[in-house]
């Protein structure tokens, strides 16, 4: 596609349920990033992928969070047993490479509300 695509755009879930968020990066981009943005705040880094590999998972807030990427393309972020503090906008970005001076292109995000 022309840009980074995320689905769903909005998700309301009950506390304790599992949710899965999807990111479709720009075709050919090897690097993919997940961020979380709470209301009125900056972005909090969660995890990055180089190809299908995520070398460092220490940014994930808890062991309820996991992410995977298959085929070097689509990535899913899974949150198990959701809590109210998980409510936020989850943003995905991709870049052509993992270089330090490489621009990242963002999707529009998934707004997650845990009730």
């Amino acid at each position: 596609g022309a840009g980074v695509s995320q689905s769903p755009s909005n998700k309301v879930t009950e506390k304790g349920k599992d949710v899965e968020l999807r990111c479709d990066p720009i075709s050919g981009h090897t690097a993919l990033y997940w961020y979380r943005q709470s209301l009125g705040q900056g972005l909090e880094f969660l995890i990055y992928f180089q190809g299908n590999s995520a070398p460092d998972k220490s940014g994930l807030p808890s062991d309820r969070f996991s992410a995977e990427r298959t085929g070097g393309s689509v990535s899913t972020l899974t949150i198990q047993r959701t809590q109210q503090e998980d409510s936020a906008v989850y943003l995905c970005a991709s870049s052509p490479t993992l270089g330090r001076d490489t621009e990242a292109f963002f999707g529009q995000g998934t707004r997650l509300t845990v009730v």
Partner: protein
């Protein structure tokens, strides 16, 4: 640790005037900075970037200035337009390839 912060949470500017948004960073080893614009309900949009071997970089109506001595970054928007209304974030590329973000400055354009 690494952190990036913004001086003002909200900036009101008259339409047609120039806007200046400031940002401070703490890691003197930082070598790449980006400004993003985020409109309501949308993801961040790249505006301009600058590497640490530069002091100034210009784009279309935007200029980024980098002062490594005081670890300060600014974004200047010339002839501010209503479409410039958004939250502006400065970000630094961290050691783990992630972007380290400030809290953002909301730019309000007065007619």
């Amino acid at each position: 640790g690494e952190s990036v912060g913004l001086h003002l949470p909200t900036l009101s500017v008259q339409e047609g005037d120039n806007s200046i948004i400031n940002c401070a960073y703490s890691n003197s080893a930082s070598d790449y900075f980006i400004w993003y614009k985020q409109e309501s309900g949308k993801g961040p949009q790249f505006i301009i970037d600058i590497r640490s071997n530069m002091d100034k970089r210009q784009g279309q109506r935007v200029t980024v200035l980098l002062n490594k001595t005081v670890k300060h970054l600014s974004l200047q928007i010339a002839a501010t337009q209503p479409g410039d209304s958004a939250v502006y974030f400065c970000a630094e590329k961290g050691s783990n390839y992630q972007l380290i973000w400030g809290a953002g400055t909301k730019l309000i354009i007065k007619p």
